[in-house]
């Protein structure tokens, strides 16, 4: 009944190659966008923004970035935390160095700087692959975190070693610093999130994305049909770094406000984002959102039911969360290697024929 193509005629190439070719899908997408921009900002409060919406939006961007690298190009990276830290510190240095420039530009520039760093650490991917590469990216993770911890230029020689976001405004509304309204922070991140998702979606279904997928599926075959592995891999690293850098900048500037690098961007963060990509679905933009939502909501839910509802101690709930997340990863890899996105695809297939499946 839903998702039916019958009667939905395409009369131009443009119609034929649009992102959501099915009318119902398209309408639902517009509806979600309208709700996100026009309804949610008016009804949310501080708790919802800080516990659910901001982490969801920011992790979605990071997951999209990592998904481009892991899901589309097949290069496993365990350095996401470190690259997010690059974005955060680049943003901090830009914010304090050029306070007269808009924060929008700072965040985009921070993404660009991260892209460069990511490119540098992607160079080994030209010689190695698989988990060898994963270990190489671990080097990035540990080295970058150490560097931001020890080189005091990065945190402007502050005594605590922390970086704190100064107050900035966009069109007169504070988006960073203590005076930020919840809705402003939410909208600010939402704009970036939607822009990133659009960009990523169009990149992955265009020439660049096809090259990445060719490399992922079989690099030698891809090379023979004319894909330059050097360019394809490095562009995946750079673009992935761009998204991850933006996520890191937002994570620091808008979400946390003040950051201590080892705590906020440690190895655990790398794993968290990788898990989002696996659970959500490798090689799917929607999957990045689904995975981020899942892993943001799961701890909140567990905490509310176990600690709030049953009165268990917090550390027990935290350990249980570890077990559940780990178990789910294994379960997903066994039962549904393509993650939540695949479940969604199957559901869609079913819905097309829904009331009369034969």
């Amino acid at each position: 009944m839903f998702y039916r193509e019958a009667g939905d005629f395409k009369t131009s190439y443009k119609d034929d190659s649009q992102t959501f070719p099915i009318k119902f899908d398209r309408m639902r997408y517009y509806l979600v966008l309208i709700a996100a921009f026009a309804v949610v900002p008016f009804v949310i409060n501080d708790y919802w923004v800080n516990a659910v919406f901001l982490p969801f939006l920011i992790y979605s961007i990071a997951a999209i970035g990592l998904n481009i690298l892991v899901g589309y190009c097949g290069q496993v990276s365990l350095g996401t935390g470190g690259f997010m830290a690059v974005g955060a510190y680049a943003c901090y240095k830009l914010m304090t160095g050029f306070p007269e420039v808009s924060i929008l530009i700072h965040i985009i520039l921070a993404g660009g700087i991260t892209a460069g760093v990511c490119l540098l650490f992607g160079l080994p991917s030209l010689r190695i692959k698989g988990f060898y590469l994963a270990v190489a990216t671990l080097a990035a993770q540990f080295f970058l975190v150490w560097m931001f911890n020890r080189v005091s230029w990065f945190y402007n020689y502050s005594a605590s070693g922390q970086i704190t976001a100064p107050e900035t405004t966009v069109m007169g509304v504070a988006v960073t610093g203590p005076a930020t309204e919840p809705w402003a922070a939410y909208l600010f991140c939402l704009v970036f999130c939607v822009a990133c998702a659009l960009l990523a979606r169009n990149l992955t279904r265009g020439m660049a994305g096809r090259k990445w997928m060719a490399i992922r599926d079989m690099d030698i075959a891809a090379e023979i049909i004319g894909v330059n592995p050097l360019k394809a891999k490095l562009s995946a690293f750079a673009i992935s770094g761009f998204f991850v850098g933006i996520a890191g900048a937002l994570f620091f500037a808008v979400y946390l406000g003040a950051v201590e690098v080892g705590e906020a961007f440690g190895i655990q963060k790398s794993f968290l984002v990788l898990f989002m990509v696996i659970i959500g679905g490798l090689g799917s933009i929607f999957g990045s959102f689904a995975g981020a939502a899942f892993l943001v909501l799961l701890p909140v839910l567990l905490k509310n039911t176990l600690v709030g509802g049953l009165g268990w101690p917090t550390d027990l709930a935290a350990h249980l969360e570890f077990m559940i997340v780990g178990g789910l990863i294994v379960l997903f890899l066994i039962a549904e290697p393509h993650g939540l996105a695949q479940l969604w695809r199957v559901a869609k297939e079913k819905l097309r024929l829904w009331p009369f499946p034969h």
Binding site: V76, P124, S125, L126, R127, I128, K129, G130, F131, Y132, A134, V135, A136, L138, A139, F142, F143, V145, W146, N149, R150, V151, D219, P229, I267, F271, L274, F275, I278, L310, G311, W312, P313, D315, L316, H319, L320, E321, F322, M323, I324, V325, G326, G327, L328, I329, V330, L333, I334, P337
Partner: protein, 328 residues
């Protein structure tokens, strides 16, 4: 300058000792990787889990006490007995074998023929699960582990070096002991692999799964055996590290240190794991001693990885590894 040299020598020796402990963890990786092609990220957590179990059994802790107390509102903590170290080690080994069986039965049996990277990610999931499981089972507070290993400065070496060089070296007894254990362990493993029936079967599986199957070797049995062996190595590593720095979460992070060790030594070589461990241990201590303090200290966090990274570019198969990496 001679003073500097002597200090450097002491640092070097201590680095060697630390390297032995890295090598112990790396050994567990190599065993599983050789036999099943699985890169077991959970090795470090297995060491943590083994150490936790050992302490728990020795102290007579009630497993899942925390959970039971929360659900039923009871107040149980200990059985009230103390198990002698040797018996506790045996019991822990039983737990590790059970774990090996469960891991194969519930996880890797279903993932046969998947790509290596999928298996790798599954072990990351396993690591998370085990970490939570161990904490729920035994509690997450930092515990002291004492199975009666010697500790403290070795007087003989201190005396001897003082006599010869005029400066007493500080070498921990535990490190010396760990070195001896590691050497014995490697020797036993090599003998096991070369001269016993099961060891040969293990090598056959490592060579070629299908050929091994066709001559009647049970893959399931070999995998459980290899995971048990890795569990045993993890237990030994857990005892050493646990005695050295207490049983705590950071124990699982030594697994990450073992990765560059493997890069250096090669994924498929037992001697490689040892040499790689020694090189990394030595290298990072010396680097910290010579250059580290000048550029901010705590370089041990990343030195091993960057060394491995550089190494990868020039010799991707490691020092002793087989040439298996496809160049892209």
């Amino acid at each position: 300058m001679p003073e500097q040299f002597i200090w450097g020598l002491e640092v070097l020796l201590n680095g060697l000792m630390a390297g032995v402990l890295y090598a112990l963890v790396a050994l567990g990786f190599v065993l599983i990787y050789k036999a099943s092609g699985i890169f077991n990220f959970a090795q470090g957590v297995m060491a943590l889990f083994a150490a936790l179990t050992l302490v728990g059994i020795m102290d007579g802790q009630v497993p899942f006490a925390h959970l039971i107390n929360s659900i039923f509102g009871t107040e149980i903590h200990h059985f009230g007995w103390h198990v002698p170290a040797f018996l506790a080690i045996l019991l822990t080994m039983v737990v590790m074998v059970a774990l090996a069986w469960a891991v194969n039965k519930f996880v890797f049996k279903h993932l046969v023929n998947q790509e290596p990277i999928i298996l790798f990610m599954a072990t990351i999931g396993l690591a998370y699960f085990l970490e939570g499981f161990g904490d729920i089972m035994w509690g997450s507070d930092i515990k002291k582990l004492d199975v009666g290993l010697p500790q403290g400065i070795n007087g003989v070496i201190d005396e001897a070096t003082y006599q010869i060089l005029g400066y007493g070296f500080f070498i921990d007894n535990l490190d010396l002991f760990a070195t001896a254990i590691a050497a014995a362990l490697v020797f036993t493993l090599i003998v096991f692999a070369q001269y016993t029936k099961q060891g040969r079967a293990m090598r056959a599986v490592a060579d070629d799964h299908q050929a091994a199957l066709s001559v009647g070797i049970s893959l399931n049995f070999i995998w459980v055996m290899v995971w048990s062996l890795a569990g045993f190595v993890a237990l030994v590593a857990g005892i050493m590290w646990g005695t050295k720095s207490g049983v705590q979460f950071s124990l699982s992070l030594i697994a990450l240190k073992a990765l560059p060790v493997l890069m250096l030594g090669g994924f498929t070589s037992i001697p490689g794991a040892i040499v790689g461990g020694l090189l990394i241990g030595m290298g990072e201590k010396l680097f910290e001693f010579a250059i580290g303090s000048a550029i901010g200290g705590a370089t041990e966090n990343w030195f091993a990885y960057v060394l491995a990274l550089l190494f990868l570019v020039f010799r991707p198969q490691g020092l002793f590894g087989e040439k298996i990496i496809e160049r892209v």
